[in-house]
């Protein structure tokens, strides 16, 4: 119905759009124009990049299941994406905008887990001393160990 009206209005204006193929070209040109005019949205939310991230997430989850869920799937997905970038299987510019979206808003993604504090604060309160003491001592140890080893082994001084 729409198509019909369109045809008539075009021929009314004396344009030769009667053959089906030229009509098709016209429509594809129109849709292309549509894409171009919406390109600012695609820059923000690149679907190819999202697909690549999801794809590696799936790949990592499958691999994780294969090794008996020893390491979480998303971590393996991260490693696989890293390796694919190094081996140039994935081009950096293919994922860049999607990565920027997820990393810029990462803080939001922790909130649902963090609110779980509601159901576990009594347990945490009970062991607060252990939590604080263990975390702080361990942090100082990491700084010392990493600093000393890195300084000792460093070759190319930047």
């Amino acid at each position: 119905m729409y198509l019909c009206n369109f045809k008539i209005s075009l021929s009314d204006r004396g344009l030769n759009f009667n053959s089906d193929s030229s009509l098709l070209t016209f429509f594809s040109a129109l849709s292309l124009f549509h894409l171009v005019s919406l390109s600012h949205i695609f820059i923000l939310f690149d679907m190819i990049g999202i697909f690549i991230l999801l794809f590696f997430y799936v790949l990592g989850t499958v691999l994780s299941a294969l090794i008996g869920n020893f390491i979480p799937g998303s971590i393996l997905g991260m490693l696989l994406l890293f390796v694919s970038l190094v081996l140039k299987i994935v081009k950096p510019e293919q994922v860049r905008s999607a990565v920027a979206f997820f990393l810029d808003n990462m803080m939001l993604f922790f909130i649902p887990l963090g609110v779980g504090l509601i159901s576990s604060y009594t347990l945490i309160g009970k062991y607060l001393t252990a939590i604080v003491v263990a975390s702080l001592i361990s942090t100082v140890l990491i700084i010392a160990v990493v600093g000393l080893i890195a300084q000792k082994m460093e070759k190319n001084k930047p």
Binding site: P72, L81, G114, V133, S135, I142, V146, G147, I149, Q151
Partner: protein
């Protein structure tokens, strides 16, 4: 009215709104203690608690957001790739330092926490405490910990490490810029990196790389060390 407050749509909109507000407040004040995650959690917990929404309900309503966490962990692979150029022939030094550092961090936190009487869920929540939050909560959830506890401990550890880190490094006589950056990034993730950037460009860049290295190494070491500890008893 209560129906609307309990709806997924409302809880999602509310969560994203509070997050944006917390980010705005943090950028405006630049106070470490007003870390956007801490303030958002405080506001959301108070509201959810006072309206009387069970956590299960909140969690299922915000499942979409939680799913994004997995994708952003995958996205960290890109960050690691971008920071690869900072290795500059020091691969062995950096890898050894992070692997040993990560192992010392995990083992020490397990031993001290257990010695002070903490139960398994608490210990499992603390194991990945020095790692960037997305990886830390993923690892903690995976090994039977409480991810919400981990997310808060990670921030507190970050702030602590950022403050005492340069002090510890000075006391140990560590002069190397690479060593300083690596130590701050691997012990105190992004907060440590922010501190390292104040020390210098090299420190900041190396520190950024250390976040990724430490994350990967810890995610692999936690299940291994857990298995060994179980084996020993």
């Amino acid at each position: 009215m209560n129906n609307i407050l309990n709806s997924e749509l409302f809880l999602l909109t509310f969560t994203v709104g509070v997050y944006l507000g917390a980010m705005w407040l943090y950028r405006k004040t630049k106070l470490m203690l007003l870390h956007p995650l801490l303030t958002s959690l405080a506001v959301i917990i108070i509201v959810v608690k006072s309206v009387g929404i069970p956590y299960q309900e909140y969690a299922s309503a915000t499942q979409v957001i939680n799913f994004m966490l997995g994708i952003s962990v995958v996205a960290l692979g890109y960050l690691l790739y971008e920071q690869l150029i900072h290795i500059r022939g020091n691969l062995m030094a950096m890898l050894t330092a992070t692997i040993v550092g990560s192992a010392v961090g995990i083992v020490s936190v397990i031993l001290i926490a257990q010695w002070l009487g903490a139960d398994h869920r608490i210990v499992a929540s603390l194991e990945p405490k020095s790692v960037t939050t997305p990886i830390a909560v993923t690892v903690a959830a995976h090994s039977g910990g409480i991810p919400s506890l981990t997310s808060i401990v990670v921030i507190v550890v970050g702030i602590f490490g950022g403050v005492v880190g340069p002090l510890v490094l000075r006391m140990l006589g560590i002069e190397s810029r690479l060593a300083k950056g690596l130590a701050l990034g691997s012990a105190a993730h992004a907060v440590g990196t922010a501190r390292a950037m104040e020390l210098g460009v090299v420190e900041g860049a190396v520190s950024g790389l250390a976040i990724g290295l430490m994350g990967v190494v810890t995610a692999i070491l936690v299940p291994i060390i857990e298995a060994i500890m179980r084996f020993i008893g």
